[in-house]
């Protein structure tokens, strides 16, 4: 099993989850309290999702039978 598959999958799932949570909580006070007003859940989530999808794509590209 190519490691990029579980790696990509985990980060895609966690990233999507965090980004979704970030969208849901946009008006929460916790961002002002903790991360200087930045919705770090949304941004980190999107970053992780991008990373995860990239890994999945690389894994798929390496395997001809997809």
């Amino acid at each position: 099993m190519d490691i990029r598959f579980p790696l990509g999958l985990m980060f895609a799932i966690v990233g999507a989850l965090l980004a979704g949570f970030g969208v849901m909580t946009t008006s929460s006070t916790m961002y002002a309290k903790h991360s200087l007003g930045v919705n770090v859940n949304l941004w980190s989530g999107l970053g992780m999702l991008a990373f995860g999808l990239t890994m999945l794509w690389l894994a798929r590209r390496a395997k001809p039978q997809g």
């Binding site: 985990m10 799932i13 991360s35 941004w43 980190s44």
Partner: protein, 607 residues
């Protein structure tokens, strides 16, 4: 610190993947070579990341954060001096022997190069050390999770041990390696945002410098002592570490660092699992690239933690600084003379009764180990908090897994196959390896509980392990580069070096320490060191030198192996692989030059 559903969900997803990877990889662990060495089939980028992750246990993450708060940017020496040169060396010069000799473990290399008794000495001491280290990781994680989240210590230990047991039992080294790669990216994902937000809060590097200048002066040093890594290394009194550059470079940079990266099977095993000699040699070099950058991920948070004021409602599992003060005054019956307020994110160190611990200088001791957890609690909302804690847990667990896979390999090949039951079938050894995984974890769990009851025993054990490790590199260096070194020489050198370490420690004390676990137990302290770190570095230097000299002397009086026996094991008798026709990024010498150049640059920038 309160966790919400999103945090628990992230942690559960991680656990599910970790276990799932183990389950899927079981079908690839058909032979003992698969189980212990991943069939020597792993590509260089994966072994490279695993190499650095195996080393990046949570004690390193938490410890470096603590050191960042205590010593400032000078902590980077542990990386730029204390790791990179050794990693380059092992990749360029030692892996040809480890990989080319087809040794299946570091002790096995010693057997091929020297003799059985040298192998036995190394195998037994390593096996004991590694299984106890695993226990210490379990203990540290249990304690931290209890402090931060109120989780039951026993439950944390058993849960983490159980998860590690399942995936290493099923998938062997490959499982451990895959999960180490996951851990690496989790740490990056968790700590990059932390550093970005923290740095923004303190006003960037110049803002941090200004705040740490105040802190540095408050501690009695020059303003730059916490943000300049070399300028204050002239004398021990000028820097918070209490060392001078020679002890640092020789003790940390040479003996301790080479001793670890070049001989510790935990990391070397990952390089041995690579799919080719070229990949094996590139493994530590590839690992060196993120290793160079990690100071920014783990040390900076510590430095930020000490320079940021505690928000009014920080606390641990519900306890606030105000509560500390209330408890203390209630105990004493009168307002105490000591200011207990928490000036930065780092809380005072509390003893078992909840009272602040006071150091010998009359000041309240700070619990620096909490720097990183406090940073997570301060700057991360729910969601990222779960991710950050998950990254920490991943570090602890992959440290345990690394120790477990190293243990089961050394047990099976170097102890069981060599002395208990040689000549059995491969599937027999595979089964033995799986049993060893189980009982290795059980011993570690036991060690974790012992550590919980008797803190000092753990300190003592780790001290003994340091004595054993210190001389190792001299033995390997002589073994690989001087064909005249003999088995008797190696064995006596190792014993003499370990003894020298113990004697040196027994006769010296760091300033302000009481004789006992800290030193001075053999006799009245002959020499006092300005700090514990200085004592460690010089203990290492003495041990290494003793081992070096004794090994040479004894070798000159004993019979070496014949040249034909040493082919592939010694520099003079092994052809160095030629790689002139490979692309630049596959040439170890090129990678090494790039790594060293960048490291030099970093040292200059933070001079």
């Amino acid at each position: 610190m309160q966790l919400h559903w999103i945090d628990y969900t992230i942690i559960l997803i991680y656990f599910a993947f970790v276990l799932g990877i183990g389950v899927v990889l079981k079908r690839y662990a058909k032979t003992s070579s698969d189980f212990f060495l991943s069939g020597r089939s792993i590509p260089a980028w994966i072994t490279g990341l695993a190499f650095i992750s195996a080393n990046l246990g949570a004690q390193e993450v938490i410890g470096m954060g603590a050191s960042g708060a205590k010593y400032g940017i000078a902590t980077s020496h542990f990386y730029w001096i204390g790791a990179i040169p050794a990693m380059v060396f092992v990749g360029l010069f030692m892996l040809p022997f480890y990989y080319g000799s087809r040794a299946r473990s570091v002790p096995e290399y010693l057997k091929l190069r020297f003799d059985e008794k040298t192998r036995a000495l190394n195998a037994i001491s390593f096996a004991v050390m590694t299984v106890f280290s695993s226990g210490v990781s379990m203990y540290a994680m249990g304690k931290l999770l209890h402090l931060l989240l109120g989780w039951d210590f026993t439950m944390s230990v058993l849960l983490s041990a159980g998860i590690v047991l399942v995936y290493t039992y099923l998938g062997g080294l490959t499982s451990a390696i895959y999960n180490e790669v996951l851990q690496f990216f989790l740490i990056v994902a968790g700590f990059v945002p932390l550093v970005l937000i923290g740095m923004k809060d303190v006003g960037g590097w110049s803002g941090l410098q200004a705040r740490l200048a105040t802190e540095s002066v408050a501690r009695g040093f020059d303003p730059g002592a916490l943000t300049e890594s070399w300028q204050h290394m002239g004398t021990p009194a000028a820097n918070p570490m209490g060392v001078e550059w020679f002890g640092l470079v020789m003790g940390l940079g040479f003996v301790l660092s080479f001793g670890y990266w070049c001989t510790d099977f935990l990391v070397v095993q990952r390089a041995m699992a690579a799919d080719s000699m070229n990949s094996a040699r590139r493994t530590p070099l590839i690992a060196a690239l993120p290793k160079m950058v990690f100071p920014f991920l783990v040390i900076l948070p510590g430095m930020i933690a000490i320079s940021v004021a505690a928000p009014s409602d920080t606390g641990l599992a519900g306890r606030t600084p105000a509560t500390y003060r209330l408890e203390t005054t209630a105990q004493a019956g009168a307002p105490t003379a000591l200011p207990i307020m928490q000036r930065s994110l780092i809380p005072p160190k509390l003893d078992d009764k909840g009272n602040p611990v006071v150091g010998t200088d009359g000041r309240v001791a700070l619990d620096y180990d909490l720097a990183i957890p406090q940073m997570l609690g301060r700057y991360f909302p729910s969601g990222m908090l779960g991710l950050g804690l998950c990254a920490l847990m991943a570090s602890f667990m992959s440290g345990m897994a690394g120790n477990t896979t190293a243990f089961n390999t050394v047990w099976t090949y170097d102890i069981y196959q060599s002395y208990i039951k040689p000549g059995a079938s491969d599937s027999h050894y595979l089964a033995v390896g799986r049993y060893a995984t189980v009982f290795g974890i059980l011993i570690s769990i036991g060690a974790a509980f012992v550590a919980n009851r008797f803190n000092n025993i753990m300190d003592l054990l780790q001290l003994v392990f340091a004595f054993v490790n210190a001389p190792l590199f001299a033995t390997f260096m002589l073994g690989m580069f001087w064909k005249r070194t003999t088995g008797h020489g190696a064995f006596s050198g190792l014993l003499a070096g370990t003894l020298a370490a113990a004697v040196h420690h027994g006769l010296t004390l760091p300033v302000g320490a009481v004789a006992g676990v800290k030193g001075g137990w053999l006799a009245q302290a002959v020499h006092t060191y300005p700090s514990e770190m200085a004592q460690n570095f010089w203990t290492a230097i003495f041990a290494w030198t003793t081992c070096f000299v004794v090994t040479i002397l004894v070798s000159l009086f004993t019979e070496p192996k014949r040249d034909e026996e040493l082919k592939g094991l010694v520099y003079a008798l092994t052809p160095i692989p030629h790689d002139r026709n490979l692309p630049w990024h596959k040439r170890p010498a090129v990678l090494a030059t790039i790594v060293l150049g960048l490291t030099l640059l970093l040292n200059v920038i933070f001079w």
